[in-house]
């Protein structure tokens, strides 16, 4: 009897439960992707073959996991290094108060696997940087809901590094893993589809991210005007001076005692200068660089990403081209545009990167360019080169002993360090999984008078 029952069981992709999406997949329409051939095999592929990686199990990640599981995807992987906090619960709907302190990835996956029968999501409670090329290569699509730009850039770099090129330097299409990326901030958000090597990547459009707001040190120290200035003062200067919890204790924005201490000291400073409105909420906001977040925006952006993943996996419809912005603060407004691929993109252009620099410049000038130039915007680049066949570290800030040894190099002229026109430097940074090779192009200083 039991055998018979197993035999007549309909395969999962034929189940009545999936009736809704089956209409999109088993029928053709006038606006379908040109390659689309309706069939029940598409849902079979989505359910039983198509592997999707969800990066982040926070506001967007929880939504993405739910959305994709209800669009038929079963082979889902979720990676997130974070644990659950109380302030997540206003939007990260797969978590409850009892879950505080547990892994976001594990909790989210457990919940969805339980709610949606057949879903086989797998959790990875670790930083994305701990997973290697082999891990990332197994996916058909990667969808990313991160709040960190650095992590996004790293992931983008990883997917680009998986690209393979044919002998004629053309891209091997089968090595392309599409990246669908979403981000939110308050009532604003964006969603985009990236085909690494083919369309604009994260690095091609770095200028779309607003520059981080910072306060000049002299204002904080000498002429504070805003409550934020007072809080920054305590955070940057007073904490280190007073070490309220002893020398080794760093300021922790998640420790309520620390926040309360900063709040009180900032209030004292504000009173001294006649500044008002230092509040606990503001103190916490400045210390942790808190970005407002609400369930609705995350739901809308994640859903947009999920729709695009579904289109990529099924070809039932053409993808958005290729970047959508959403603003729900005044009505609901969206705008979709084609973010253009930068031909000389440091990450995805598959050409040697060139940096133009004056021949009498110092290493500091190269370092600054790597941090400030829109083409690089690195955080803390480590610079090495090869001199006479030997690796030579020119400057590296990330390891203290090396920083001390190489610090003087920053002041030296690049020619003194053995660099020349056409020399290559190798740059490592948190924004990229691979070392970037940059060819130096030294230019003579142009005399302004000669132009006339």
């Amino acid at each position: 009897m039991e055998m018979a029952e197993v035999e007549i069981q309909t395969p999962d992709y034929m189940q009545r439960r999936w009736h809704n999406i089956r209409k999109l997949l088993e029928r053709s329409g006038p606006f379908c992707h040109p390659d689309f051939e309706p069939s029940s095999e598409i849902l079979d592929f989505i359910m039983n073959n198509c592997k999707v990686l969800i990066v982040g199990a926070g506001g967007l990640g929880c939504e993405l996991l739910k959305d994709l599981a209800l669009m038929g995807f079963k082979k889902l992987h979720v990676v997130d290094m974070d644990t659950i906090e109380l302030s997540n619960l206003n939007r990260q709907f797969l978590f409850r108060k009892n879950d505080i302190g547990l892994s976001k990835a594990k909790c989210a996956v457990e919940f969805v696997n339980k709610r949606i029968p057949g879903c086989e999501a797998v959790a990875h409670h670790c930083p994305i940087q701990d997973l290697d090329e082999g891990f990332y290569r197994q996916f058909h699509v990667v969808v990313c809901g991160l709040d960190s730009i650095v992590a996004r850039r790293w992931l983008n770099g990883m997917l680009v590094s998986l690209l393979q090129y044919n002998d004629d330097r053309s891209l091997d299409q089968s090595s392309v893993i599409p990246l669908v990326d979403g981000g939110t901030e308050g009532f604003k958000g964006n969603a985009r589809v990236i085909l690494p090597g083919m369309s604009a990547c994260i690095e091609c459009t770095l200028d779309l991210y607003p520059p981080q707001k910072t306060f000049p040190l002299c204002t904080i120290a000498n002429t504070p005007r805003l409550p934020e200035h007072c809080i920054e003062y305590v955070k940057v200067l007073q904490w280190e001076k007073e070490n309220p919890w002893g020398n080794t204790t760093l300021l922790d924005g998640d420790d309520p005692q620390h926040v309360a201490w900063v709040y009180e000291k900032a209030q004292e400073r504000a009173t001294k200068y006649g500044i008002t409105s230092v509040t606990y909420r503001l103190t916490q906001g400045v210390l942790k660089n808190i970005i407002p977040a609400v369930a609705s925006t995350n739901a809308a952006i994640a859903a947009t990403c999920a729709t695009e993943v579904f289109k990529l996996a099924s070809s039932c419809c053409v993808n958005m081209n290729n970047y959508m912005v959403l603003n729900m603060a005044d009505g609901v407004y969206t705008y979709t545009f084609n973010a253009e691929k930068r031909p000389n993109c440091v990450t995805c252009s598959n050409t040697t990167k060139v940096m133009e620099i004056e021949h009498d410049a110092t290493l500091q000038a190269i370092y600054d360019k790597l941090c400030e130039d829109n083409a690089f915007l690195m955080k803390s680049p480590g610079i090495t080169t090869v001199v006479n066949g030997r690796n030579k570290t020119l400057y590296m800030a990330s390891i203290k002993s090396i920083e001390e040894k190489t610090r003087d190099n920053l002041k030296k002229k690049i020619t003194e360090l053995g660099l020349y026109n056409g020399a290559e430097i190798l740059v490592a940074d948190v924004t990229t999984p691979n070392t970037v090779t940059i060819k130096l192009k030294l230019s003579e200083k142009i005399d302004v008078d000669m132009l006339y």
């Binding site: 439960r17 999109l24 029928r27 006038p30 109380l86 005007r225 006649g274 729709t307």
Partner: protein
Amino acid sequence: MASPSPKSPEQSEKNKQYDRQLRLWGDHGQAALENGHICLINATALGTEILKSIVLPGVGAITIVDHNIVAEEDIGSNFFLDCSSKGLNRGTETLRLLLELNPAVQGHAVQEPTEQILQENPDFFKSFSIVVATSLGEKIIQDLAQHLWDINVPFILCRSVGFLGSFRIQIKEHAIIETHPENEQIGLRLDVPFPALAQYLDTFDIDTLDLKDHGQIPWIVILYKAVQKWQLSNQNRWPMSRKEKNEIKEIIQEFIRKDENGIPIEEENFEEALRAVNTALVPTFLPVKIQELLYCSSATNLTKDSLPFWIMCSALRNFIEAEGKSKLPLRGVLPDMTSSTEHYVKLQSMYRTQAVMEAEIVYRKVQEIVAQLHCESISETEVKLFCRHSHDLHLIKGSNIAMEYQLGSNSVASYIARYLEEPDVMMVHYILLRAAEIFRSEHCRAPGEWEPEADIAKLKTCVSRLLTDISCSPFPKDDHIHEMCRYGGAEIHSVSAFLGGCIAQEAIKIVTKQYNPVNNTFIYDGASTNTATFTF
């Protein structure tokens, strides 16, 4: 070493849980949300996705009206159903799983059909802050809309079919004090400085300050001085044209100190002054939009039942006509600018004091009106908030959905026709959503529910009928009709999830009376990732 023990009280649990959203709508917005009661009719995937993003931030209560029994397709697209739900009432089941999201939220389920409630107990709807409905038939939409219009309860009508979706907000009148505009007018009154400000600005002499102090002069002082200098040779006029503003910039350039080689010294405050010329020199004026609001009949013909908003508008108008001398009350906010602490704090407190003073005058006028009309009192906090945001007040006067459904020769018809002629594909989607509703009421199923091809002609008849009603020629191609039949009434989860997020936020905007909601129809096409807003 003893640990320091700061005395500041830690935040409450609730403040911590809602921290990220309190930064968007504040404690008073949260309090309003916690007083809200949302009614959902039909717990489809779209319905529960809407409630999800209202329950999470902590609405007071939800009521689900649904008489349907959970089918297997429901479970496949609706996250708030599980396998054990099959065969049970859909409202009760989704309520159970929705309430798990936030124990602070109250919930009720009503298993009667909407038609029945509307007939037997229409007062049922009176207690809700908003009624949200999904998947309703053509007839009941009109009856319900008319009833909610009559009893003045906001209504959001929502649809999700295939890649398409829409929502329509019906609200008689919605006044927003805190619109949170992206670019607030700064309104510094440099052209008509109040006495304390004028006195303070006059104490500066830019040329005699030493270099350190020179670099600490706030840019509004620099701007004021530059205009004063310019006015000497311009009959005391206010610089208006681009050319005149450029002359102001030249004067500012002259103020900048030079080093021994005659090269200008970089001073951040002067750079800021140069950048501010174009925006900060806009003369103080009463925006037309606000003027219209203050002189509309609701604000001029007050009754005992007038809303606090209109009473405050009336008081504000009295202020503008008297003490305010045609100006709105000062906002009292000084933008950040390079400056010594002393100058900045002094200026800031001047603006603040003046704003408080003006708001107090408005408050007194409010009290007078309240006394005359014998209506409910309005708190000083409310009036102050109103005054602070008086530059950006926004009023939405809505329209009745029942009227939108009676096409014929009314203005809605010509409005639609105008977009169809362009042709605007998003308006085509609207027509198809409407036509699909007609189809359903005639054939008791969605177009293409069984056989897409067979229903194309039938749906086309519905489309033609609508187009005739608005005096439009038929669509040249059947492609959109074909696509609607392909959808076969399917509800796609990610499409509903997108709309759910948007609609939840619209409901929250209405309940908290903050941020402008859509006025009044939103169309979404997930296939092309396009959206549009129409005002019917």
